[in-house]
C-alpha cells in the first residue's frame, strides 16, 4: 500500500451543547442511539495503531458529551496513539480534566468563538463564553499542551488583533486561527460568514505582525478561506492519502464532509476491518489516484500538489464530485465562486440558521 494513514479523526458523537453557525458537522447528524459503543471505538483505535496511525483526534459534536471519554483516551494511548481532544470545554471540570490527563491525554484544543462575550455567545447560539474562560484557566494550571482555536469570519475578522491578544492571555502555547470552511452548517450560513476581500487582506497583515511579536511565545497557525485563493487547497492532503474520519455511527470517511457525495457506499467500522476499508474499499480508492481527474487538472503541473482540490466542494458547488474544485481560477465552474464573492463584497448581512442538536 502506497499510502499510510497518519491521523484518525474520531467524531465520537454529534451531540453538542453549542449550536455554532459554522458547525462543520453534516446537516444530517447521527443520532445518539446509533453511536458506536465504547468497545467498538476501542477496537477501532487498536486497528488504527497497528496500521501506523500516529494521531487520534477526538472530536464531535462535543466529545465531552460521552461519559466514556476517559476510557476512550486510555484506549487510544494503549494503542500507541497521540491523543488530541478537540473541545468547546463545556462538560469539563477539575476532576474530569485530571482524569483525562491521567488517562494519557496529550493535547487539548479549546475553541473560542470570539474575544468578546456577546458576539461569542451569539455565534455559538448559547451562553458558553464565560464558562470557557474558566476552563482555559483550569487547563493552563496543568502540565498539558494547550491550543486555542478561534474560528474567524465576516462578523469578527475586524477584531482579529484583539482576538490574538485574548488568546495570549489564555496561556495557550499555540493559536489556530481558522477561517470558516464552507461545508455543512457553514455553507448554509455562507452569505453571512464569508469575509470581504478588504477584511481578508487586513487580517493577513495582522497575523504577520503578531507572529513577529510573539515569536517563541505563541505559535500561530492561520487557515485562509479558499474562496479567495488562486488555486484550491490540497484537501486532506489528498483523498485517502493520510487521514480518515469515523463518524459517530461508525461510517469511515476520507474527510468530514464526504457523506454529501451521492453514489458512494461508505463502509462501516462495525462491519469491516479498518485496514480493508483504507486499502481496498471503493470509497477510499475513488479519488485516490489521478485517473478520475478531468481537464484542466489532468495536464496541470499542480495536480501532485493540490490533487484537484476538494471533492466535496466540487459536488456542493458544481454538482459533480469529479469536477475540478470551483475555487481554482482555472476551473470551468469558477464563476460560482466569483458570483458568491461579488454578493459578499457588495451586500449587508443576513440572519443565522442555528443547528439543532440530534436526538
Amino acid at each position: 500500500m502506497k499510502y499510510t494513514p497518519r491521523a484518525l479523526i474520531a467524531e465520537i458523537t454529534h451531540r453538542c451543547p453549542l449550536h455554532c453557525v459554522y458547525c462543520s458537522n453534516p446537516l444530517k447528524m447521527q443520532r445518539r442511539a446509533d453511536e458506536l459503543s465504547t468497545g467498538d471505538w476501542v477496537s477501532v483505535f487498536q486497528q488504527a495503531g497497528e496500521m501506523g496511525v500516529l494521531q487520534l483526534h477526538l472530536t464531535g459534536g462535543e466529545p465531552l458529551s460521552r461519559s466514556d471519554l476517559t476510557e476512550l483516551v486510555h484506549a487510544g494511548r494503549e494503542a500507541q496513539l497521540y491523543l488530541n481532544l478537540i473541545t468547546s470545554g463545556v462538560g469539563l471540570d477539575e476532576r474530569r480534566l485530571d482524569e483525562l490527563i491521567g488517562a494519557g491525554l496529550d493535547h487539548i484544543q479549546l475553541s473560542f468563538q470570539d474575544n468578546e462575550e456577546a458576539p461569542a455567545n451569539e455565534f455559538a447560539g448559547t451562553r458558553s463564553h464565560a464558562l470557557k474562560l474558566r476552563i482555559a484557566q483550569m487547563i493552563r494550571q496543568r502540565r498539558i499542551a494547550f491550543t486555542v482555536n478561534m474560528v474567524v469570519h465576516r462578523r469578527n475578522l475586524d477584531r482579529l488583533k484583539e482576538m490574538i491578544a485574548f488568546a495570549e492571555q489564555t496561556g495557550a502555547q499555540r493559536l489556530e486561527i481558522a477561517n470558516v470552511q464552507y461545508y455543512g452548517w457553514a455553507l448554509r450560513n455562507r452569505e453571512s460568514l464569508l469575509p470581504t476581500r478588504q477584511q481578508l487582506e487586513h487580517s493577513i497583515e495582522v497575523v504577520e505582525a503578531a507572529r513577529e511579536r510573539l515569536n517563541g511565545k505563541l505559535r500561530i497557525d492561520f487557515v485562509l478561506p479558499d474562496y479567495y485563493a488562486k488555486y484550491p487547497k490540497p484537501c486532506m492532503n489528498g483523498w485517502g492519502h493520510q487521514q480518515m474520519l469515523i463518524d459517530p455511527a461508525g461510517h469511515v470517511l476520507p474527510c468530514h464532509a464526504a457523506m454529501v457525495i451521492p453514489g458512494l457506499d461508505f463502509p462501516s467500522a462495525r462491519e469491516r476491518p479498518l485496514r480493508w476499508i483504507w486499502e481496498d474499499s471503493p470509497v477510499f480508492n475513488r479519488f485516490r489516484d489521478e485517473s478520475w481527474m478531468p481537464e484542466p487538472c489532468r495536464s496541470c503541473d499542480r495536480r501532485t500538489r493540490d490533487f484537484g482540490g476538494c471533492r466535496c466542494q466540487a459536488f456542493l458547488l458544481a454538482g459533480d464530485a469529479a469536477a475540478t474544485d470551483p475555487v481554482c481560477t482555472l476551473a470551468p465552474t469558477h464563476t460560482v465562486i466569483e458570483e458568491a464573492l461579488q454578493r459578499v463584497n457588495g451586500r449587508a448581512e443576513r440572519e443565522w440558521v442555528y443547528r439543532i442538536d440530534p436526538s
Binding site: Q173, R174, G216, D221
Partner: protein
C-alpha cells in the same frame, strides 16, 4: 549564537514525546503532527531529560561520537536544540 543558556537543562514540553512503537522511523510527536528525527537527533533529544545541562549534553555527545570533530558536534547540537526550543518542542526545566 544559539541564544541558549548552557548551564540550564532542557526537557520536552508538554504534548511532545518520542514515539515508542519501535518502528523504522524516529518520530517526535507534537500537537500539530510529527517531526522526523534524522541522524543523531533522537539521541540529542533523549539527552534532554530535564537534569543534564546543555554543557553536559555537549560533552556527552562528544564522548558518544569520538570520531567527529568536537567543535562541530557542539555547533550542530546547539543549533538543533535552539530550533526545537523556538518551535516550543523543548522547554527549560
Amino acid at each position: 549564537m544559539s541564544g541558549l543558556e548552557r548551564n540550564r537543562a532542557l526537557r520536552l514540553a508538554p504534548g511532545c514525546r518520542l514515539n515508542t512503537t519501535g518502528g523504522p522511523e524516529d518520530l517526535l510527536l507534537i500537537p500539530e503532527g510529527a517531526l522526523r528525527l534524522k541522524g543523531p537527533a533522537r539521541t540529542i533529544v533523549e539527552l534532554c531529560d530535564g537534569e543534564r545541562t546543555l554543557a553536559e549534553i555537549v560533552v556527552e555527545l562528544q564522548r558518544h561520537y569520538p570520531s567527529a570533530q568536537p567543535a562541530r558536534i557542539e555547533t550542530e547540537a546547539l543549533a538543533l536544540l535552539a530550533r526545537l526550543r523556538d518551535r516550543g518542542v523543548l522547554e527549560y526545566a
